[in-house]
Amino acid sequence: MPATSVAGHNTDALIVLSGDCGGIVVMPKLNLNRVEMPRQDPIARGKNFNEVALGYTPEMAAEEAERCIQCPKRPCVEGCPVSVNIPEFIKALREGDMPEAVRMLKSKNSLPGICGRVCPQESQCEEVCTLAKRDAPIAIGRLERYVADWEQENKQAVESPTSDQPEPTGKKVAIIGSGPAGLTAAADLVKLGHSVTIFEALHVAGGVLMYGIPEFRLPKAIVQGEVQYVTTLGAELVLDAVIGKIDTVDELLANGYDAVFLGTGAGLPMFMNLPGENLCGIYSANEFLTRTNLMKAYLYPEYDTPLGMGNRVAVIGGGNVAMDSARCALRLGAKAVYIIYRRSEVEMPARREEVENAMEEGIIFKFLTNPTGFLGDGRGWVSAMECIEMELGEPDDSGRRRPIPKPGSEFVIKVDTVVVALGTTPNPLIASTTEGLETTRWGTVVADEETGKTVKDRVWAGGDIVTGAATVISAMGAGRKAAADIDKFLRSN
């Protein structure tokens, strides 16, 4: 129910909100002027991989925090998948007690520097913010980032993680995968006194945060800071360890681990099985982004991994992965970058902020368009993409209107690089090498939503491996719930 007797935007008087805030509450001034965060100029940033959003200054953070009306109903906390104490950390921030703001934030979210940058706040905490009903919600994500960045710069001011060593329980837990789900589960379990080993298949930890999300959106130093935090807590990190190839989950369980948490994500790229899809110049988003971000192809030849970047790039898809690919292509020197999306703008699953950033940077959006095939140049390289226009029909299972091809609307667009960003499913390696795991027809592992427990004894799972490609915060939340349940199990045995 919308607030009633609210005065106009510019009134200096106290205002009264009713209904949603639980009865009549007297509130301070309602300031609807959200403090914008400075960003790099769109033209300049299209040529570099530096972070786009520059963060609040202390003054900006204070001003934005001041807007929070500290409403007693706290809808934001419910909107947050891990129930961060949002009003409390904002209150501490505006009282100038930064260490307290950090503690408040970190008591629920061990990766605030990451979440502040990449969470889809507009569909979570900020969507339900009381101010959102009037106009601009509190910029919770930006404040979260501000507090986390302050902590990075002022580490010593906050109590060190090793200050109160937990009583060792003598129990061993193996965490498979070092994405947000695995890192969160690991941090929670070491803090509870268990001995934790994280096994990561790649040569660096961090999962999608390292190989997928680009530097200009999430600086890798921040991710590595969080990884280091987990190892300084006492978790052991084993890189280059592909579970299922070296030890299997069953072998880990037989060789001394009391419990295993699967946080291996959804890393298998989907292709469309269209004619010409194996032509050179056609990449999965995973390959394109891995070469760019993890292997640092944007610094080639200082780094050894190349990336064949053409002039006209089509990115197929409408999610975060597509936005990231398109914006990387631009920064790698492409002249024209198209996003090819089969539905319309409103259905795009990407974070709103990143869509706006991409548009500002000059990415060209072709909505209601679907590829139907790829044409080669006679030497094995892609030279054009065949497309068809779409229109929206009845809503499908996802609630979004189903795109249907418009007969006779076929056309060809000239491209020399294509990135297929149509989503990912879990890698079957773990499920196929582990006895007795239950999987769905999408290859996700079945686990209890509240506890992460799988049907297999002593095995838990969480994050994208259970949900399919989702969000950082939901993966963290799943890691946290599983850690709590693993702890309960270990203590009762």
Binding site: A201, L202, H203, L239, D240, A241, V242, K245, I246, D247, G267, L268, P269, F271, N273, E277, N278, L279, C280, G281, Y283, S284, N286, E287, T290, R291, M295, K296, Y300, P301, E302, Y303, D304, T305, P306, G308, R379, G380, W381, N427, P428, L429
Partner: protein
């Protein structure tokens, strides 16, 4: 970090390293490979596990110096370490009692095929190995392969492979005509494998090729290694590297292998070892 325990220079630009990697040594099977990254700025490249010593916790790699990473690797000395090594990747070679098996190898694969030959012998197969080197002074690995095989045929051919039956295909053709061959296994440059497939096809002899597309992760995550086999897209790192050679789309594999030919450093001096395809 993974320490180089020993190294041997087998021929010009062909080196063999023994590297400390206990968890990989423990699980390695014939035909599997690892992904190696020399240093922090390096590229991830696949190399076959040529042999392993489970007690010592070490694996052996044999590589041909062709570009940036293999040059970097060749510069690493005994006692020094490389940054990353992961595996064993890929499915193990298919080993069964087939009857008479012919292997056709060229270059590094003369050494990397040995565990496969050994496993085939242990299953009771008769194994005839055909190996090829471009010139007399680039012959290596023949003693070891010969000792493992029932018969060894060494061919020397120059760098051209424009369909001339001047090297591996000639003895292979003879064998196919002379006796019952139940399976052919080929590993090596793409053009050699492609020629082998074309020679065995009319004889309807099951032929297996171990494909070597460009790879990144080696775990099925990127799709860089995709190959078209029997009209279906497969990821060589997880569905292979062995595939039915008669079903492989060779032109596509050749083109994809050359994806970075034009921006690799020094590519102008480099030509595919066998077919100078670009």
């Amino acid at each position: 970090m993974y320490k180089i325990l020993s190294r041997e220079d087998l021929a010009p630009n062909i080196h063999q390293f023994e590297i400390e990697a206990p968890s990989i040594a423990r699980k390695a099977q014939p035909g599997q490979f690892i992904i190696i990254m020399v240093d922090e700025k390096g590229e991830r490249i696949p190399l076959t596990i040529a042999d392993w010593n489970r007690e010592n916790g070490s694996i052996f790699l044999v590589f041909n110096v062709v570009g940036q990473t293999t040059n970097k690797l060749a510069a690493v000395q005994v006692g020094e370490s490389i940054m990353s090594l992961s595996g064993p990747m890929g499915l193990p070679a298919e080993i069964d009692k087939f009857g008479t098996v012919v292997t056709v190898t060229s270059g590094y694969s003369v050494v990397t095929i040995v565990p496969v030959v050994q496993a085939l012998k242990e299953m009771g197969n008769r194994v005839i190995s055909i190996m090829r080197a471009p010139t007399m002074d680039s012959v290596f690995g023949q003693e070891h392969l010969g000792a493992m095989s029932d018969e060894l045929i060494v061919t020397i051919g120059d760098n051209s492979c424009n369909g001339e039956p001047n090297f591996v295909t000639e003895p292979l053709e003879k064998l196919l005509k002379a006796e019952q061959i139940d399976r052919v296994i080929t590993v090596g440059p793409v053009c050699v494998m492609k020629l082998v497939a074309s020679v065995t096809r009319p004889h309807e002899v099951k032929t297996i090729a171990s494909l070597n597309p460009i790879m990144v992760d080696g775990t099925g995550m990127c799709g860089c290694c995709r190959v078209s086999v029997g009209g279906k897209t497969m990821f060589a790192c997880v569905d292979g590297p062995e595939f039915d050679a008669h079903e492989v789309d060779w032109p596509s594999l050749m083109a994809r292998r050359c994806t970075y030919a034009s921006n690799e450093r020094g590519w102008s001096q480099y030509r595919c070892l066998d077919c100078a395809q670009w």
